[in-house]
């Protein structure tokens, strides 16, 4: 994976840039010692690392603005960073960039139940948002699996999803407003406690823009009343195709579960060995969760059971209690830990039309065999958001490159069947060079024009999202 060469003029001016940042910001906000900036050299895509020029840990919108204004004047690139949990390298630094972290901005600013909203600083973790309102019976819906650690800033940057977005939507559907700081330090308020944009939907394009347009320091989020209850059913099938059929049949029947999770045979075996959840040894497992009162849950689970029975499942186990629900979720929730035991892995998140599941699963199997690697699939089937986990050995020379090549082929397949490169992790650096598989030059040009408006000098989050060859002219300008 190629990154642009650092600008030698900036590297040689490091001392001056650090001095200006230190003058503009409170003591302790600027980190520049080589051994200290190393802590920020990568995010959760650990295969790539590069210590930045310096790190600024801001504690307020004003400090974010001050940092950006200095970097703008100095022509120094800025890499925004939330909690550093990006799986796509969304906050991978370059050697000539300042990492601007918002993790210290972690306060709840306002909770309004009459308006069903919460306003937070964006360094707060995803789970802490729900934590602030759950005693009063509310929750924040998007639930990425890193929710204990990941920051709302990163959720907004990547438009994060989670297991429950089939019913509740992703971040963009639950975001009402932001305070965003532009590269030149201008603070802009967009949206708020009210709904919809008065004119162009800038909030819609800022959400999911991967730090290309600005640094979001505050956010107004929609909160929802907690459902009365939720329970899953576990359904095992002898063939992946049949499990895929079951997903379609459930959705077509007019049932909208909060989650439909899918695990293939390698994932089932790995999770079972790791967690001992009592999963059957079969080709594909579905976990379908529904919400409501006990009676409503029973009624929905009965209908799902009826649909599944027609497809001859090898196992069907509907939960009737909290204990049984926990047992059904146990294996799924330990999936990433279980994969970690099998080796290093790359986690993809290409999304496909639900009807293409069988074809894509077969295609992945064929590709995987041709590369001589192993892949396990654990994913959100209801919305077609796949998570093929490619297992490899980082200590074997060439294995990472082979795994990446397989990953690229799998994502090409996702696009070919009408899907996309990434459903919730973001493009970052990881999928940057595949963008031309999904988009024509005019499509990318239109996106880059929006960045031109927000960040004319192309200083924000360099070398992410857009292929280097495509953005070369703009970056050089």
């Amino acid at each position: 994976m190629q990154m642009p060469d650092p600008n030698p003029a900036i590297l040689s001016r490091k001392a001056a840039v650090v001095r200006r940042l230190a003058e503009a910001l409170p003591e302790g906000a600027v980190i520049h010692a080589p051994e200290e900036v190393r802590a920020y050299e990568c995010d959760a895509l650990t295969a790539y690392a590069c210590p930045p020029l310096a790190v600024v840990l801001a504690s307020s919108t004003e400090e974010v603005s001050a940092c950006l204004a200095v970097c703008h004047e100095e022509g120094v690139p800025v890499v925004p960073r939330g909690a550093g949990t990006s799986l796509a390298g969304g906050s991978l630094p370059t050697a000539d960039a300042v990492v601007l972290g918002v993790a210290r901005l972690n306060e709840v600013l306002e909770v309004s139940y009459p308006d069903r909203m919460i306003r937070v600083q964006t360094g707060i973790t995803n789970l802490a948002v729900t934590g602030a309102v759950e005693e009063d019976g509310f929750f924040y819906a998007p639930d990425p699996s890193s929710q204990l650690a990941c920051a709302i800033a990163g959720n907004i940057a990547m438009n994060s999803g989670g297991a429950h977005c089939l019913k509740y939507g992703v971040t963009t559907n639950n975001l009402l407003g932001v305070t965003v700081v532009l590269m030149d330090g201008t603070v802009v308020e967009i949206g708020g406690g009210h709904m919809d944009a008065p004119g162009l939907d800038l909030l819609g394009v800022i959400c999911g823009s991967e730090g290309q347009l600005g640094v979001v320091t505050e956010a107004t989020l929609r909160i929802l009343p907690k459902p009365e209850g939720a329970r899953p059913v576990l359904i095992g099938f002898d063939e992946s195709e049949i499990a895929g059929q079951c997903v379609s049949d459930i959705l077509k029947a007019g049932i909208l579960p909060v989650a439909i999770e899918f695990m293939d045979h390698p994932a089932i075996i790995a999770c079972e060995a790791f967690a001992g959840a009592g999963y059957p040894d079969c080709a594909a497992l579905l976990i379908v969760e529904v919400e409501g009162s006990d009676a409503e849950i029973d009624a929905q689970l009965d209908r799902i059971e009826e649909i599944a029975r027609r497809l001859d499942p090898v196992e069907l186990r509907a939960s009737t209690s909290a204990e049984e629900s926990a047992a059904i979720w146990l294996g799924r929730k330990s999936a990433f830990g279980a994969m970690g035991q099998m080796g290093d892995y790359i986690c993809l998140d290409g999304t496909i039309p639900v009807g293409e599941l069988p074809r894509v699963l077969n295609g992945i199997t064929e590709l995987t065999e041709s590369y001589g690697l192993r892949v396990a699939n654990v994913f959100h089937a209801g919305d077609g958001n796949m998570h093929p986990l490619i297992i490899f050995d980082a200590n074997t020379e060439g294995d990472l490159e082979k795994a990446e090549a397989l990953g690229a082929d799998i994502l090409r397949l996702c696009v070919e069947v009408g899907g996309c490169l990434t459903g919730e992790h973001g493009v970052g650096v990881e999928k940057r060079d595949l963008m031309e598989v999904q988009f024509d030059p005019a499509d990318l040009e239109a996106q880059m024009r929006v960045k031109d408006v927000f960040d004319p000098k192309w200083l924000l989050n360099p070398a992410k999202v857009f292929p280097l060859s495509v953005s070369a002219g703009r970056r050089a300008a």
Binding site: L166, G193, H194, V205, S209, G254, G292, E296, A446, V465
Partner: protein, 356 residues
């Protein structure tokens, strides 16, 4: 009136155009009915997968055609688009493109999202005649910048929508409406807030001072009955189930059809709604639990001057000169205006769509 029959046709027309052109779908929503170019010859559903809850159609497809296709599979649009023809006194047919270009959303918007939340992909032709696609036909997609959201509600200022992909919802077997009479605006907003804070999935919450306060529950038959009972028990005051379906009239604000006066749609925090309606000079109607206020004003009155809270007011119906002097859309703060102005001039450098 230009009537392209294909995306290629449209792109050629735009490339050769050098004077501003007003874009229309069915002519039911724009401040002025007449336009210079219509998408209504570009019609048809190109893909409908009930098992994937997705539908793709050309922008000129009448909403009625989409509704009928969804009805046949017992599915529906989450955002319950409002129809403008009656309040604007138009005879045209609402199209998908017009709906999306104005982000037209009805009562269910407060819980199920707006048109912009249901749109998962678009194709459009920009002001240079370039065909651009964004998003796709899958429900989760974070690949690149989300221009589909930007096009929703852009009112033709960035380009002409040619194709739209939508995320759908299962249809509902039953719908129940609870009603209360004689509530003050404060009490109505408080009651709607109580309702929207329960887990009983209220999908409509409106208050019409002339007709009452209404709460809607939708879903499967037994489930609806159960939730309606629990909801009624949780609410202050007296609520009863009504047989009539008030929601189409609330959605389209038909109370304001066929009468004189300007008409506005105002978006505010629900908790700010009672103070706002107290300051209004004419009739009004609250939807979205108080988050949306339809307001009638004497011709030429600037309702925005009455707003002391955050939010925005769109002028829905007024004389052309009022649209020109007050502005159809709420004025933006300078920093936002610089961004939106910049985007518009990038997508439409010849200002072809300035009058859309």
């Amino acid at each position: 009136m230009l009537q392209p029959e294909s995306e290629g046709d449209l792109a050629r027309m735009i490339r050769s155009a050098n004077a501003p052109m007003a874009i229309r779908g069915g002519g039911t929503r724009a401040p002025v009915e007449a336009g210079d170019l219509t998408t209504r010859r570009m019609t048809g559903i190109t893909l409908y997968e009930p098992g994937a809850l997705t539908l793709v159609a050309w922008a000129g497809t009448p909403m009625a055609e989409i509704d009928a296709a969804l009805e046949a599979e017992r599915q529906r649009l989450a955002f319950e688009p409002w129809e403008a023809a009656r309040v604007l006194g138009r005879s045209g047919t609402s199209t998908l493109g017009g709906c999306v270009a104005t982000n037209a959303s009805g009562p269910r918007r407060m819980v199920a999202g707006a048109a912009r939340d249901a749109v998962i992909g678009v194709r459009f032709v920009d002001g240079e005649g370039q065909v651009v696609k964004n998003g796709g036909r899958v429900m989760k997609n974070v690949t690149g910048l989300d221009l589909a959201k930007l096009l929703c509600g852009s009112r033709g200022r960035l380009g002409v929508l040619t194709e739209v992909a939508l995320k759908l919802l299962p249809g509902v077997a039953a719908s129940v409406t609870l009603a209360a009479e004689g509530l003050t605006p404060e009490d109505a907003v408080a009651a709607m807030s109580v309702a929207l804070s329960t887990p009983f999935e209220v999908t409509g919450a409106a208050h019409d001072p002339a007709a009452g306060t209404f709460l809607r529950i939708e879903g499967g038959g037994d489930s609806v009955a159960y939730r309606a009972d629990r909801l009624a028990a949780a609410l202050p005051g007296e609520w009863r189930q009504i047989d009539a379906d008030p929601w189409p009239a609330i959605r389209d604000a038909t109370r304001f059809a066929g009468v004189e006066g300007d008409l506005w749609r105002v978006s505010v925090r629900p908790s700010h709604a009672p103070a706002l309606v107290a300051a209004l000079p004419g009739r009004w109607l609250m939807d979205w639990g108080g988050g949306l206020i339809w307001a009638e004003t004497p011709p030429g009155t600037d309702l925005r001057a009455q707003m002391t809270c955050a939010g925005h007011a769109t002028l829905v119906r007024a004389a052309p000169e009022t649209h020109a002097t007050l502005g159809t859309l709420h004025p933006e703060p300078d920093a936002v205006k610089r961004l939106t102005g910049g985007i518009v001039s990038k997508f439409d450098p010849k200002a072809l769509f300035a009058h859309s």
